[in-house]
Amino acid sequence: MALDADVVRLRRGDLNALAELITRYQNRLYRYLLRIVRQPAEAEDLFQQTWLRVIEKIRSFDASRNFDAWLFTLARNLAIDHLRRVRPKSLDEPIASSEHNELEADRIPSKDPTPLDDALAAERRMEISEAMSELPMIYREVLTLRFEDEMKIEEIAQVTAIPISTVKSRLRRSMERLRYALEARYPGGLQP
């Protein structure tokens, strides 16, 4: 696999290459960390720590690996260590709803808020985002990697270091739990 030019430059200690990579990955990486830890301030700190870890480890990065998967694996390890230290229960349990009343995603206005349909759709997505944040960490993670980062199942398996069959069963369970939560909010079901 050919190495990304910016990754090659970063291996030589080029700060501009790092700036390029951070800019390129900032939204995806931040979103992934926010979905895992659910607190914007913690996600921002982990975002910085992830890039510092990239600098430390870039020389040992195996060129045959996918940089995206490697980057997300570093971020994941840091986020899980952080949760183990700060909120060990959050690795398994959903948090109380008061703790995530102000999700970062909630503060993002719709791109086109004037038509009623768009407003309703934005509200629905917010509801989904909230329902998703109430799921356990392993389910939130697999949902964000599949749907928001649009990673293939094989890439998710690399990032999470679990077999493909486990990724699929996690994905299925996460969707089932999300649907259950949404049906409790919308008894009539989601309108396409």
């Binding site: 700036a19 910085q48 600098i55 759709a121 934005a122 997505r125 949902l143 599949r146 396409p192």
Partner: protein, 157 residues
Amino acid sequence: MSDHAKIRELLPLAAAGALTSAEEEQVAEHLRSCIACSNELAAWRPIASELYRLPTPQPSPRLVQATLMRAQAKLTEQAEHDWNRRVVIVLVAFAWLLTFANWAVFRLVSGRFGTLLDLQFGHTWISFAAFNALGWLAGGVAAVLLAVRQRDQRRLA
């Protein structure tokens, strides 16, 4: 588990686009004859579709700048560390070179340069060993003191 139940388990994955081509064929085949599963898949699709379109949370604009500043400090520290390691290697090699060169100087001073490789345990040999041991000890202490001082400076920065 019946085929129907197996296919039903695959439906959320079908909506998520996470099936292999063989599984996709299996599902398509089953849906041709099962209205219940077709309806079930139809219920999964809007959920998947909304998940693909969730709003992306944006990091604060200062985050990238703050990350770059910390990264720059880290890169500088790493470059300094690499430089220090190279300097230490060169200095140690140079010190060994001087140690061997000193032997010749000692033999010359003691008037026995002709027997350069004669390692008889004598007065010259003891002086040579003591001189070099003192040199290495002083060098080692200086290196440790410098390393401690540098570490303290880094902590304060």
